[in-house]
Symmetry: C2
Subunit: 357 residues, 2 copies
């Protein structure tokens, strides 16, 4: 049976990417060796790394002066690296607390300096994006999580201030057109819109680095990674390769502009059904709804078993909500076809009919 | 043409592992989803992680009281984590300097405490393992690199002292039987005997942790990773899976005892040829020769082009020596078949005949 994979991450990737990645594991580019058994310094892999980097620059329309890195450790290690690279000694940073990942990020920053939580939506289980805040002039940087996977909220506008702007874009990068010149540092774990788990994309404005007066451990120092073209140590070869394939797929499809249109369409369809269907209610505030993670609950929890049986039978997987929110979460990342969204909507409608009878 | 892959790492993996890994990228365990598009918390992947952990314990015959982790960042991040987790405040550690990787390890440790270089073989381009050293009683731990890929040297005996013993075993773990009770912390990048680049194996004696008085960033804290079964953050799913397959392959083959016998045979054959052949000389001191990386030079550098042409024609790849040593390096890790070693030997003999005429 065909599966409809709504997993929040690691998540659905394009079928043609999976096919090419599978082939490369036995015979990469026809060289009779596997991608994963050749040196990362071979011309074949260096080319992969260069292509991946170029595709990021092209797809995001990055201005001059930004470096692109493929590292390890996920966003979780970036929480620490951000602070190590940008927080001055006796420094201070402003953090938006819009969910579990934001909280984890600011926890690590506190190890290296003062953290000013400029706004938090914790009071309502993070179901909205705070709009009322003041960023003081004395902070080294402002940090936010653009899309909150667990709660299904997303920043539509980004704060303006004189401080550097740092954005954890793990779950919505490459999903919508943005002016990247407003960001100074962007990072994203690969395992949503870019590739498999195991690599982290970092985009950093070169001129902001090396200004803290801090001694930074080598593996946490963006300048070292930049100077070695992401090969200071052995890079995660397979995740980088699959990311390159996915970025190529996105380019062939028409780039970020094209996928944004499709993403908007998928999200509109699904939110419309949630709002129409008597058996469901959305979790996030309407104006802050994420186009990537659609969170919703049953109006009558007693019907859970009925709904769970239906979507299971329809070949749907990965829509159980995060344990901290409950209910359901349909993640509709770039690679999610509109047909699968339609299958989910049909199942929701079938469910409504069934419990009405 | 069949390739004989002597790459130093990422390096050769068993053909059957590559085949299974390739299949899992399109359809994992027959679930009609790719391994790399399912949640790391799915029962399917949790089982992979558990199997991988059990196989490590079984294959290495680990005593009770040790935890096994699959992390990210390679040995390079472990250089820092080792110090963070074991170096007391105002502490001191003893480091053996037996090559580039040892030097990098001690550089990171210096950020957190005092480093006593107890012995170094730098005076002879690291072509031997120092045997004359004193470990003082005041160090928090002793650190060494068991096998030095670049120079082709390997510790046969490990230092005894009252301090904790830490070993970077990246390039020879699973290659020979060792008494692991002598080590307190062992780490190894996967990309030699265990799997593809992108995950790091860490084996740590639980009771040594949490004793430094230091606040450790979450991602660098072994206790946090242990408490979350290596899933504090999203693990590198594919590298962990391929590691599991490789460990299963090793178990099926008869385990570490069986592979050690084969490894000794391969190394003996190749070193015998180097010593016999008038056109080659070994780089490392005979008693310290590595069974994993065989380093050698031409007796007459002028013949380099002739030899390079010959091995290229024989389908041999990856035997160029590291830029800091020159000459050649044949890496004969676990997955390297004896037949490929024989092809290299034949080529060396053919070369000798050719330049003699």
């Amino acid at each position: 049976m065909k599966k409809h994979n709504f997993s929040a991450g690691p998540c659905i990737l394009p079928q043609e990417v999976l096919k090419k990645a599978s082939e490369a594991v036995v015979n990469f580019n026809g060289i009779n060796l596997s991608l994963i058994e050749i040196s990362h310094r071979s011309k074949e892999f260096v080319e992969v790394m260069e292509n991946a980097r170029s595709l990021v620059k092209e797809l995001l329309d990055l201005p001059e002066g930004y470096s692109v890195l493929f590292l390890q450790g996920g966003a979780s290690l970036e929480f620490l690296m951000t602070a190590y690279n940008l927080m001055k000694i006796d420094g201070k940073a402003a953090y938006f607390d819009t969910g579990a990942w934001s909280s984890k990020a600011l926890k690590e920053a506190k190890l290296l300096g003062e953290v000013d939580v400029v706004a938090s939506s914790k009071d309502k289980t993070y179901n909205y994006i705070p709009k009322d805040y003041t960023i003081t002039n004395d902070v080294d940087y402002v940090h936010l999580t653009s899309n909150n996977t667990i709660y299904g909220t997303q920043f539509k506008e980004f704060p303006k201030s004189d401080a550097l702007l740092v954005c954890d874009m793990s779950s919505d990068i490459f999903s919508r057109e943005l002016d990247f010149s407003q960001f100074d540092l962007v990072y994203a774990g690969a395992q949503k819109n870019m590739g498999p788990a195991g690599t982290t994309l970092v985009i950093v404005k070169d001129e902001i680095l090396g200004k803290t007066g801090r001694t930074i451990p080598s593996m946490l120092d963006y300048q070292i990674h930049i100077s070695k073209d992401s090969m200071f140590n052995t890079p995660p070869v397979f995740p980088v390769y699959v990311s390159m394939l996915t970025l190529q797929w996105l380019k062939d499809l028409g780039g970020v502009k094209a996928i944004e249109k499709i993403n908007k369409e998928k999200a509109a369809l699904l939110y419309a059904e949630i709002d129409r269907n008597s058996q469901f209610k959305g979790f996030a505030e309407v104006e802050d709804r994420s186009a990537m993670n659609v969170t919703f609950n049953l109006t009558n929890e007693a019907n859970q078993e009925v709904f769970d049986k239906l979507w299971n039978e329809a070949g749907i997987s990965g829509i159980k909500g995060h344990r901290s929110v409950g209910g359901y979460r349909a993640s509709i990342y770039n690679a999610m076809p509109i047909e699968s969204v339609q299958v989910l909507i049909n199942t929701m409608q079938q469910f409504e009919k069934q419990v009405h009878n």
